[in-house]
């Protein structure tokens, strides 16, 4: 707790000036590990239906994110930079696509703009207390699948919205977020 306070103090002068992507990255990287709850809403455009799921997560910077679904089904997913394999099941869909989405998720949560810049045009708006980042795909190949990504937050990343090219939308709200002990066991 003291460490967080100290880091916040160091971060304060910067927030008084223009808030940059570097500042945001530094901010997001202050916490090595983060735990909290999420609510995921997937809007399917052509069916005009909503798929909603809830659960909790644990994020460990540069290592993994553990995604624990509680309702409507119970499941535990783990995404690492190398693989986003569903550890419970091998019949889990197309590996390449999952890897890419998982890598994207990890980059977004860590504010790794350097990695994201190769694929997206990145725009930051707002200030340190309430910031938004818009990512627009650079390549045609990516634009065929994704039209825009938007992340918002304050101290942490609070909202993530992925707009698919076909009109589908994935919105994830993160809440009750707290720094976690890095080496604590990640199983819920």
């Amino acid at each position: 707790m003291i460490r967080t306070l100290l880091l916040l103090l160091i971060g304060l002068p910067a927030s008084a000036l223009a808030f940059t992507l570097d500042d945001l990255q530094a901010r997001l990287n202050q916490t090595d590990a983060l735990a909290g709850r999420f609510e995921q809403q997937r809007h399917l455009a052509d069916l005009d239906t909503q798929l909603t799921s809830r659960g909790h997560f644990r994020y460990q910077r540069d290592e993994r994110i553990v995604w624990v679904l509680e309702s409507p089904i119970e499941d535990r997913l783990e995404f690492t930079p190398d693989s986003a394999a569903n550890i419970d099941d091998s019949l889990g869909g197309n590996q390449r696509g999952r890897d890419q989405v998982a890598a994207l998720l990890l980059d977004l949560l860590g504010g790794d703009w350097q990695a994201l810049q190769t694929h997206f045009r990145i725009e930051l708006s707002g200030d340190a207390r309430d910031w938004q980042v818009d990512l627009t795909p650079l390549s045609d190949a990516l634009r065929d699948r994704l039209s825009e990504i938007r992340i918002e937050g304050g101290e942490y990343l609070d909202d993530l919205t992925l707009h698919a090219a076909n009109g589908d939308r994935l919105h994830v709200r993160f809440f009750d977020q707290q720094p976690a002990m890095k080496d604590k066991d990640v199983t819920p």
Binding site: L47, L69, L77, D144
Partner: protein, 786 residues
């Protein structure tokens, strides 16, 4: 335009006529070569066609294509990202320096290979494409076990659920399965690069597509110098390369090096010897004149007859024409020694017989079924004829200085080297019998393709390593599968794949790429659709209920199954994912005779990691299946090389037998003295090879053809002019110059040239040593024994 003073004699008219012919040839050649030399470099173009071969030939060419136009670089270092950027930029920059560019494209960024999403191409076929695992799951419990994973996919943040189009993610399953089936899938995008992984390290991958032929010197130069510079500046980076262009570049460099060492050495030696003997640069020109005349005469006519010229024809044919220097040497030696008393007439029988014997030996090959050999024989024979005509019609008319030194030298040589005694025929026979039995017992033949491959071991090793890491194959071993219809080809491929995969499960080391894994036969696709209908029954309703989605979606999803198209081969090959397999499909093959039994569609199933002990089993498998044949590209080409070698041997032997009859008509009981130098030398070479344990191959045998030609000339002249010192000088010079021109090739690092040179080196030396021992006794001349 003839003036009055020199009478219009017959030889004079002939000389003018010959000049006109050569001029016409030169003009014709210029016209033919306007669009460049229509040269053929395929080894197989030299070889005969049989019924099955055209198809196998096409299969071979298609499988080898990707290896020819493409090159692959694998980088590994501790700073992989930075190093790969540097190398890729250096290659791109080097490409910008040349116009037109030599590099068509360079793929190395993670986005480079992901231009198109395979979903778009394959989406409509998904209901007929089921992975083996899904098929089993549906067969086991109607597909209830698939509900749980599908549910997870609906709610995972990384999922891309499509509850109507594809509630069970059939396409995702199929694409994941394809990843395992397609060789390229081992390549993973990572940190902005394309990477490959093995047990120890990560490699960055650069794939280049050449815009020019791999034999193009500019492309080779640009590529190898860029890489060399990169390696100099980054010594810590380890680099693996693969692709024909690297082998071709190494070969070209080696050839250049040898041209400057061996080639220049031989040329200097030749000029030095001829200048030393004749003391006149003009004579040097006279020596070359017949060669020029020969090639000028042979080239356009051969091109007219065959349409195109094989490079081997040009190389070996030009060497064979080199024998023609003999004629010029004999004329020149006699002229130098006899001075103004020189007449061509006494030399004519020897010159003519020399020509006829060589023509017979080479033209015998024109009767073989080997198109390449026929071409080479025609080219060499025409060339010899042209050279001979030039010697006989022009050389006597050209004034050439006769230096007294030549005369002195010939006498000196005679005294020094002529033995007092002769080889008794009985002893010679005994020697010959001994040698023949030695050769018959000991000599082995080697027709392996390695002879054509001058690449150093380190490059071959890199090549293998890259192929292994990429999981790709050079298509050296494969099954060729033919059937009357596309569907039947696919069914046969499935049956073949089933057997091979059973072997794999039994622990046999073997990998293969099966087109039918990515395009199931129509009847399998039909069965798959039936299974999907089953899955879309109860399991689909359960899935929608548990996800809390409206059940009306189930009816919508079932609607999509009504007009699901069948995936055929050409549609698959047109997709971005299927492009890589285009090389496995020959498609409809045109068959000349219209009999119904004839196979009309063909595909290949390449095999990799094949252990030698498995080959008989693979062959047996092909024999038990209809329309399946096992092809080993290397083995097949080696076999064809062997055929080429045997054909040459038999036809030349037959020609020599015929020649012996012709020679017997003039030389009677001295015939053996004519034949002893060439045949003795050939036997000697074979004997030495047998004792040294060096196997005979097609190139050492081509060398023996040269020995035969030069040896016959030597034998004929030594019998025709037994007591003349100038003849012996000419024979000595002819063997020495040929030794310099061809024998020095024995020191070449290119296997083909090395073996050719080795035969010449030993054979020509033996010819020179044999001639004095078998020449006719003093005081006798040709006319007497008749």
């Amino acid at each position: 335009m003839s003036r009055r003073k020199p009478a219009l004699t017959w030889p004079r008219v002939a000389a003018w006529l010959w000049g006109a012919v050569l001029l016409a040839c030169a003009l014709g050649l210029a016209a033919l070569l306007r669009d460049g030399l229509p040269a053929d470099t395929r080894l197989t173009a030299m070889l005969p066609e049989d019924r099955q071969s055209p198809l196998i030939e096409r299969a071979d060419a298609q499988l080898g294509q990707s290896f020819e136009d493409r090159f692959v670089l694998l980088l590994s270092s501790s700073t992989l990202n930075a190093d790969t950027h540097v190398l890729a930029q250096a290659l791109t920059a080097a490409n910008g320096n040349t116009n037109p560019p030599w590099l068509a494209r360079l793929d190395w960024r993670d986005t480079d290979l992901a231009d198109q999403d395979p979903r778009d191409d394959l989406g409509q076929y998904r209901y007929r494409l089921l992975t083996p695992a899904l098929r089993q799951a549906i067969a086991a419990d109607g597909g209830q076990s698939l509900v749980e994973p599908a549910l997870r996919e609906l709610f995972s943040p990384t999922g891309q659920p499509q509850p109507v189009t594809d509630p069970f993610g059939l396409l995702d399953h199929w694409l994941t399965f394809l990843d395992a089936v397609l060789a390229e899938s081992t390549v993973r995008p990572r940190d902005g690069l394309l990477t490959l992984q093995d047990d120890e390290r990560t490699y960055a991958l650069l794939i280049g597509q050449l815009a020019r032929s791999p034999y193009d010197l500019t492309a080779q130069q640009a590529l190898t110098s860029t890489i060399a510079e990169f390696e100099r500046e980054h010594p810590e980076v380890s680099l693996l390369r693969s692709g024909l262009v690297f082998h071709a570049a190494t070969g070209a460099r080696q050839a250049r090096q040898e041209i400057t060492t061996i080639g220049l050495g031989a040329l200097i030696g030749l000029v030095a010897v001829l200048c030393f003997v004749f003391r006149s640069p003009r004579v040097l020109g006279h020596m070359l004149l017949p060669l020029v005349g020969g090639v000028l005469f042979a080239l356009p006519i051969t091109l007219l007859l065959f349409g195109r010229l094989h490079l081997l024809t040009l190389a070996f044919g030009a060497s064979l024409i080199g024998i023609a220097i003999d004629y010029a040497l004999h004329v020149q030696c006699h002229r130098a020694v006899q001075g103004t008393a020189f007449r061509l007439r006494p030399l004519l029988p020897g010159l003519t017989l020399g020509l006829v014997s060589s023509l017979l030996a080479y033209l015998a090959q024109a009767l073989t079924p080997m198109p390449g050999l026929r071409q080479m024989a025609v080219f060499a024979a025409l060339g010899l004829l042209g050279a001979w005509l030039t010697v006989v019609l022009w050389l006597p008319r050209l004034t050439s200085p006769a230096h007294p030194f030549t005369d002195r030298l010939s006498r000196r040589l005679w005294q020094l080297t002529m033995p007092r005694r002769r080889l008794p025929p009985r002893l010679a026979t005994l020697f010959a019998i001994l040698l023949v039995s030695l050769v018959a017992w000991q000599l082995e033949a080697d027709d392996s393709l390695r002879l054509l491959n001058p690449s150093p071991a380190s490059l071959l090793e890199q090549e293998q390593q890259v192929q292994r890491l990429m999981g790709s194959n050079t298509g050296n071993r494969y099954y060729l599968v033919t059937a009357p219809s596309e569907a039947e080809v696919l069914s046969r491929l499935v049956a073949l794949g089933a057997t091979l995969s059973r072997w794999q499960q039994d622990g046999v080391s073997l990998r293969y790429t099966n087109l039918a894994d990515s395009v199931p036969p129509p009847e399998v696709q039909q069965a798959n659709l039936a299974r999907v209908r089953q899955l879309y029954g109860e399991p689909l309703t359960t899935l929608l209920e548990r996800a809390g989605l409206p059940t009306r979606l189930a009816e919508q999803a079932r609607q999509t199954l009504h007009d699901a198209p069948v995936l055929d081969v050409s549609s698959w090959l047109a997709t971005s994912a299927g492009q890589g397999q285009a090389r496995l499909w020959l498609g409809a093959t045109d068959t000349r005779d219209a009999s119904e039994k004839e196979p009309r569609f063909a595909a290949m199933l390449p095999l990799t990691d094949v252990d030698a002990s498995l080959v008989p089993r693979l062959e047996r498998l092909a024999q038990t299946r209809e329309g399946v044949s096992y092809v080993d590209r290397v083995e097949r080409l080696s076999g064809l090389l062997g055929q080429l070698r045997q054909h040459i041997a038999w036809w030349v032997a037959a020609a020599v037998a015929g020649l012996a009859l012709l020679l017997a008509w003039r030389y009677r009981r001295w015939t053996w003295r004519v034949l002893a130098p060439p045949l003795g030398a050939i036997l000697g070479v074979l004997g030495i090879l047998a004792v040294a344990g060096i196997p005979l191959n097609v190139f050492s045998q081509l060398g023996l053809l040269l020995v035969l030609g030069i040896g016959l000339d030597a034998g004929i002249f030594s019998v025709e002019h037994a007591r003349r010192a100038e003849t012996w000088l000419a024979i000595s010079l002819s063997t020495l110059t040929s030794l310099l021109a061809f024998g020095l090739l024995a020191f070449s690092a290119t296997p083909a040239l090395h073996y050719l040179g080795l035969s010449c080196l030993i054979g020509l030396a033996l010819v020179w040593l044999l001639v004095p021992w078998v020449r006719p006794p003093d005081g006798a001349n040709v006319k007497e024994p008749r």
